[in-house]
Every structure is written in structure tokens, then in C-alpha cells.
């Protein structure tokens, strides 16, 4: 019998090692798996695990969640599209002190590189970023380019992960997931790109209770489903308009 419903977050996060790449869902604060991140911070703090690479659209805000993970000092590199937010001071300080590396990726390239990993694609050519500073490797050398149908494209490679932490709405014991509104964002894409995917849900339902037409992430992409209490998502990361 398949039962991906896991009692505790700690159980779902067993066996982490140095230098892992960890994807974290969410855009702004919608879809951020805060409980899983808190659990990860606990596991990391209780161990000597270090050298982590984090993949997220942003680079954390406030003091907890992704920012809390950065504060452990165990994150070597962040791959994201938009680190700068009104309250991203934890990342900002680490970055300015040279304590965390940043790979800045146009958001569509980030999403497509994650998708490519999940879909078994070795690389893809895209016009996004051509002729810009982001069409370069970390060492400053130019990424490979090619003219396709009269338009210049840049070669981009997949981003694979050892672990993905995502936030869903409902899940069943096979790992099928639904999401809520724009909290869906990177969840389904990251779920497919990681060797192990842990999804938090606000409701575990019986097998067959999810409408098959409405399942967004089929269970094949999910390793663990952990129930967490429902809590309204809080706003953050933007400048308040007076």
C-alpha cells in the first residue's frame, strides 16, 4: 500500500546531507511552505549540514522561513530571480558581506530550467536574456548562443534538486495535490524536478476524494504529504502604499 502521508516534518526531512540543492516554492509570500522551512531550519541547526544551494523565486523576507534558513549560515548559494524585497535584509546583509553566492536568473528561465529538469530535457535555447549581462556564466564567459528562425537564443541548462519543499492545499495518500489561488506558482514545477518532494497541505483527504479533473500535481511527483494547520497567508515583501 502506498501511504505518502507522513506524520511529522522531521520524518519527511530525514537523511539530508551536505551540499544538497533544495527548491522552495512560493512567490512573494503566497505558496511559501513556512512550516516545512521552519522544520528544515530545525534539522539543519541540529546537524552540521552545510553548503546548501537554495532555489526560490525570491531570497527570503523578514526573519523567519527562508530568511531564517539563510541565518543558519549553512546556505552557500541562492538561485533566484528577485532577491530584493522591501524586507529582504537578511539576504541583503549576507550578500553584501560575501557570505552567500547569488545566481540571478530571469524568472521564466528559472521556471523553464526547473521544468526541464523534471521533464528530462538536457537544455534549451531561449531568446530571454540574449544580449544582456545574464547571458553569461558565473565566471563571466558568454553562454552559448544560436540563431534559430532568424532570432538569437541563449542555451540554458536544467536545475535539478535533491529536495523540494512546496505548499499545497489538499492532498491524499498517493500524493495527489491541489493548490489555492496564486499560491500554486512554482509548486507543480518544482515537485517534478526534485528527487524528493515534501508537500505541506491544509487537508489530507481520502483517496478518491479529489476530483481527478482538478488534481494539479499527480502523486508520482510527490514523496511526502504533511498536514499543517490552516493559517491565513500573511502579506509581506512589498512597499506599503500610503
Amino acid at each position: 500500500m502506498i501511504n505518502k502521508v507522513t506524520d511529522s516534518i522531521a520524518q519527511a526531512l530525514q537523511g539530508l546531507t551536505d551540499d544538497m540543492t533544495i527548491m522552495v516554492g512560493g512567490f512573494g509570500t503566497a505558496g511559501i511552505p513556512n512550516e516545512l522551512l521552519d522544520g528544515l531550519v530545525q534539522v539543519i541547526s541540529d546537524s552540521s549540514i552545510s553548503g546548501l544551494t537554495i532555489v526560490n523565486n525570491n531570497a527570503g523576507n523578514g526573519e523567519t522561513g527562508l530568511a531564517g534558513l539563510l541565518k543558519t549560515g549553512r546556505v552557500r548559494k541562492v538561485i533566484c530571480s528577485f532577491p530584493r524585497q522591501a524586507d529582504s535584509h537578511v539576504f541583503d546583509a549576507l550578500y553584501r558581506a560575501g557570505k552567500v553566492e547569488l545566481e540571478l536568473v530571469p524568472q521564466g528561465n528559472l521556471s523553464e530550467r526547473i521544468r526541464a529538469a523534471g521533464a528530462g530535457i538536457g537544455g534549451f535555447f531561449t531568446p530571454t536574456g540574449y544580449g544582456t549581462a545574464l547571458a553569461k556564466h558565473a565566471d563571466g564567459s558568454a553562454k552559448e548562443t544560436r540563431e534559430i528562425n532568424g532570432r538569437m537564443h541563449v542555451l540554458e541548462f536544467p536545475i535539478h534538486a535533491d529536495l523540494a519543499l512546496i505548499k499545497a492545499e489538499k492532498g491524499d495518500r498517493w500524493g495527489n495535490l491541489t493548490y489555492r489561488k496564486s499560491a500554486r506558482n512554482f509548486g507543480p514545477v518544482m515537485a517534478a524536478a526534485a528527487k524528493r518532494t515534501v508537500a505541506s497541505v491544509h487537508e489530507v483527504v481520502a483517496l478518491g476524494a479529489l476530483d481527478p479533473e482538478s488534481v494539479v500535481t499527480p502523486g508520482i511527483y510527490v514523496s511526502h504529504v504533511v498536514a499543517v494547520p490552516r493559517q491565513a497567508t500573511q502579506g509581506a515583501g512589498f512597499k506599503k502604499v500610503a
Partner: protein, 213 residues
């Protein structure tokens, strides 16, 4: 020359006036979000948000704010009847695959051949952030820019060649500013309109480039 620059809301209204019925539109963060307040009555213009929304509606009142339903600027929005949610890869397929009719972006600089610089000032201490700007700039059917024509120091932001880091090459079709609206054509900049009191010659003097009448 005596003229009054358009306010941000007046530029937004000017942009909105050019949107055709049925257009799928992405409004970038910052000044372009104001365009949503000026969409022509009676037309159906469908707003896309990069975080997975088509048919985005206005901000809710305080009591109905739901931070699982936010725009690209992370602020709460609503969904119109007929709207839909989808994941990031679908959203960026819409942006990158040429499905959006128009995107409206803010800018630091636009060159006379339509190069766009809007993501990074290039300052040493600045933390770079790009988001979906590069995807929109080259992926939408038309990229429109909305900005003040001059910097606070009075320098034109429409330039011969961008000095700020580029977002995309030759991607801007129209430039809506507080003083004039310009079209980027194969033959250079073309004047669309001017604020009252500003002459074509005055505008060329401010910009320092040839602008076809």
C-alpha cells in the same frame, strides 16, 4: 516653452486609451500597474499576472484581502468572473511564447532602436533583481514602456544607446511619457503625440535625437 507634464495617472490613461478590446495584457510592477485604473469602459481587456493569474481584477477592500491571491508586486488583488489560475511554467509560456498582446513596463532608459534597460542601475552596491522583465520584454507581441521622459537631473531617458545594463534588445515598440508618446520604427523614433505647449523642436532638443514628425 510653457507646458504641463502629464501626471502618472494621465500617462496611465494615455496608455490605456491604445488598448484594443480583447487584448491580453501584462502590466509590470511600479507605474504600469496604474493603467489598470484607466482601462476603457465597455472593453474587455484581460490582465495577466506572472504568478499565475489571467483575468486579474482590482484590489479588494481591506476586509477581503487574501494573500494567496496577489499580483506580481505581491499586493492583494481579485479574480474576475472567467479568470483562471495556473502554475508558473504555464504563466511564463504565455509570456515567452508570444501569447500576450501587450506588456507595459517601466524603464530607466530606452534606446532609439528599442533596446530596454529597466532591471539594474549597475551601481556597485545595488542588489540586482530581474524577475520577469527579460521574459516579458522579448516575449510579448508588443512591449510598451511607460516612464517620465527626463530624469530628475533633466537628462533624457530616451537615448541613442543605453548606458544601464540591458533587459532586452530592440524590443520596445512604444514609449509613453509625461511629455510625449513615441513609436520605435525601423527608421527611428516617430512622434505620436506631444503635451500642449511643447513643440516638436523643443522635444528634439530635450531628447537630443531626431524624432520624425
Amino acid at each position: 516653452m510653457t507646458y504641463t507634464p502629464r501626471t502618472k495617472d494621465q500617462i496611465a490613461a494615455r496608455v490605456a486609451q491604445d488598448m484594443p478590446d480583447g487584448a491580453y495584457v501584462n502590466l509590470g510592477i511600479g507605474m504600469p500597474t496604474l493603467v489598470a485604473n484607466h482601462l476603457p469602459q465597455g472593453l474587455e481587456i484581460i490582465l495577466h499576472s506572472e504568478n499565475g493569474i489571467l483575468g486579474m481584477g482590482p484590489a479588494p477592500d481591506k476586509a477581503h484581502e487574501d494573500f494567496d491571491l496577489i499580483n506580481a508586486g505581491k499586493q492583494p488583488v481579485t479574480l474576475l468572473p472567467g479568470g483562471s489560475y495556473f502554475h508558473h511554467n504555464d504563466s511564463f509560456a504565455m509570456m515567452r511564447g508570444g501569447h500576450l498582446d501587450i506588456c507595459v513596463l517601466g524603464a530607466f532608459q530606452v534606446s532609439e532602436r528599442g533596446d530596454l534597460a529597466n532591471w539594474h542601475t549597475g551601481e556597485a552596491n545595488a542588489i540586482p533583481a530581474v524577475g520577469g522583465a527579460m521574459d516579458l520584454a522579448v516575449g510579448a507581441k508588443q512591449t510598451w514602456v511607460m516612464m517620465d521622459l527626463l530624469t530628475k537631473q533633466g537628462q533624457s531617458k530616451v537615448v541613442r544607446a543605453c548606458t544601464y545594463p540591458l533587459t532586452g534588445l530592440a524590443c520596445v515598440k512604444r514609449i509613453y511619457t509625461d511629455l510625449a508618446t513615441l513609436e520605435v520604427t525601423e527608421h527611428g523614433l516617430q512622434l505620436v503625440d506631444l503635451v500642449a505647449g511643447l513643440s516638436h523642436a523643443d522635444l528634439e532638443a530635450l531628447v537630443g535625437l531626431t524624432i520624425q514628425a
